[in-house]
Structures are given as structure tokens and as C-alpha cells.
């Protein structure tokens, strides 16, 4: 399913939609962005040139380990998935609602292209909130502010039965 996202539209939710927390983007998506809403939501950014559209995958899950453990597990997974991947950094990313998070930036070569795979990670009230960004590395700086705007306006939407 694909649709434009308007103010405070759900973009990701745990498996039981009516009772579990989900994520919403407060306000409108930046120009050129559209959403595909499913259990793991996908937002698609504007296309540059003949390249693919940048893709954001948003997910929320239960978490008991905390931010540091989740970050270490994430970096371990990223390296295991692709040993040739450059994990360029893991910076602090403060979020107005989720508190201190992490922004992990990576890049790797796939065929004739260099791809970026970045992850924003937060833990908040027993939830793990994750935003994965996939795009061509040459496109990353062009969407950086838009992605930050989306991530910064994420909020937890409490389930009706929660």
C-alpha cells in the first residue's frame, strides 16, 4: 500500500495494530517523499537523476537491553552482513522525544555503485525505534536534512488497548 502521509499519520507499528505502540511522523513529509505503510513502514524519497528512490524503513520493537547494547548488536550485524562495509561512524543523535540516540553511517560497494546504509537508533520506554536509510552514497547529502526532519518528528503512538 502506498499513500501520501499527512499530519500525524502512523508509519510503523508492532504486529498487533490495535493494541501495540506504533510510530507517527508529526506533520507533513518533506516534498517528494511518500509512504508505504505496512508492519515495517517504508518511506520513499525523491529520485535524483536515473538512480533509485532513497528508502527509509521504520520499525518499532520491544527492547529490554538498552541503547548501548542495541547499538553494539546493530554494528555487529552490519559488519557481519557485509564484511567489506565501512562503518564510518556512530554519533550521538539527540531526539526531542526519545532522548539520546545513535546515528550509524555505513557505505559499501555493490556492483558498479557505492551505496549508503545508515541507521538511526533509539530506545524509549521499553521500545526500540529504528530508522534505516538506503540510498546511493552520492545522494546521501542531498536527502540528509529531509531524513533528519522525518526522524526528528517521529513520535510513539500508543495502541488503543495498551
Amino acid at each position: 500500500m502506498s499513500q501520501h502521509v499527512s499530519a500525524a499519520t502512523s508509519v510503523a507499528r508492532l504486529p498487533h495494530p490495535s493494541t501495540e505502540p506504533g510510530l507517527v511522523v508529526l506533520g507533513d513529509l518533506p516534498q517528494g517523499w511518500t509512504a508505504q505503510i505496512d508492519r515495517v513502514a517504508v518511506l520513499l524519497g525523491p529520485r535524483r537523476g536515473d538512480g533509485p528512490r532513497p528508502e527509509l524503513r521504520l520499525s518499532v520493537s520491544r527492547d529490554a537491553a538498552g541503547l548501548d547494547a542495541a547499538t553494539q548488536a546493530l554494528i555487529g550485524r552490519l559488519v557481519t552482513e557485509r564484511p567489506d562495509r565501512l562503518v564510518a561512524g556512530c554519533d550521538i543523535w539527540p531526539h526531542v522525544r526519545f532522548g539520546e540516540g545513535r546515528y550509524v553511517q555505513t557505505a559499501h560497494v555493490e556492483g558498479p555503485e557505492t551505496l549508503a546504509h545508515d541507521v538511526y537508533l533509539f530506545t524509549h520506554e521499553g521500545l526500540r525505534i529504528q530508522v534505516e536509510v538506503d540510498c546511493r552514497l552520492v545522494d546521501l547529502l542531498h536527502i540528509e536534512e529531509q531524513v533528519a526532519s522525518i526522524v526528528g518528528r517521529l513520535a510513539v503512538e500508543t495502541g488503543a488497548g495498551a
Partner: protein
Amino acid sequence: MSAVTGRATADPNATTETTAEGIAGVTGGPAADPQVLTLVERSAAGVVRTRVAVTAGAVLVEGPDGPRTEPADALPLVLGRFAGLRPSPILDGDETLVDRAVLEARLNDPATPAPADAPEWLRRAWAAPWRRWTVETDAADLRLLDHIDAAEAGQLVVRPHDATRVAIQTRPEGLVWGELQTVPALLAAARGEIDPDASEW
């Protein structure tokens, strides 16, 4: 093809360099108007130079490990590996002024003591292994980037301050990574005018 750069172990200035002709030799012929970068790493172990030719179709790299070819859009990735980017704890501290001579001495000799008035963050960084890395363009004879990879202490940026001192500060890897992603645009502009905020210490 000329000899590939080797690691100097005795005299820090005694390096061998590949040439633009050597890089062209990687592809068996002159590249189409390539822009050539020199990546220089300096540490107590010596100086290592790697040459990188950027063409419309590929990035050609000649370094200590031999020649290799990367996709045309891989220049930031090549530079990121050269810079030693990796997740590191971020030291918390303000920009600090250090005598140029003291910083040079520390770079060449890890036993050089930190300045007596160095803040805690700088003392921790001072104790880590250092590797200064620079990215320079041949065409414009400019130093685009100048940092210190301080291993577990992360990346440090050094800026000129006055005739005798430099300002040194921690720099999150993410910001360095962002800088590296702008290098292709800088090269594209190099044919005209570059005004990078970079210079010798």
C-alpha cells in the same frame, strides 16, 4: 608502471611516490583527464603516500597494497578507509591551542609529553596512537583535508591559529564522513576555483 609507494621506516621523508603516469599505467593508457589526489599519512612509523586518480569512469588507487580500481562514485569510501573512520567514543572537550612544534614532535614521537595545561580530553587523545592524514590535490596544489586519526580516541581536526600555535579539537566521525562526501564536488569545482578552509598547520 612506476613502483608503488612503500612505507618508510627510517627516514620519514624518504618516501617513494607513484606518479600520474603510473596511475595511467594501471589502466594501460592515459586516463581521460583524471584529477589526481595524494593521500598522505604520517606517523611515528614514517610517511606513506597513496595516489588516487579520479576519472569519469573509475577511481584508480595506487598505495602500499598495490593498484586497484573502484567504482567512479566510491571516492568518499576510499577516503573513509584511508582516514581510518570507525565508531569511536566521542571525547568531550573544547578547542585547545597547542604549539605547532609540540604537536609535530608528538606526531613523530609518541613519548612526547602532553602540554602541562592540556585538558583531560587532550591528555586522553595524546596517549592514543596518532596518524595524521591529509588529502591534497595535484592540480590546485591544495590541502583539502588535514586530520589526525587518534585510534580509540577518534578523529581530531587541526587548524592554524597563529604563527606558533594551532587549534586542535575532537571531531565526530560523522562530521568527517560528511566532509569526505563533499570531496567529489570540490574536485568538480577545482577546474575553476576552490576555496577550502584548509591549509598547512
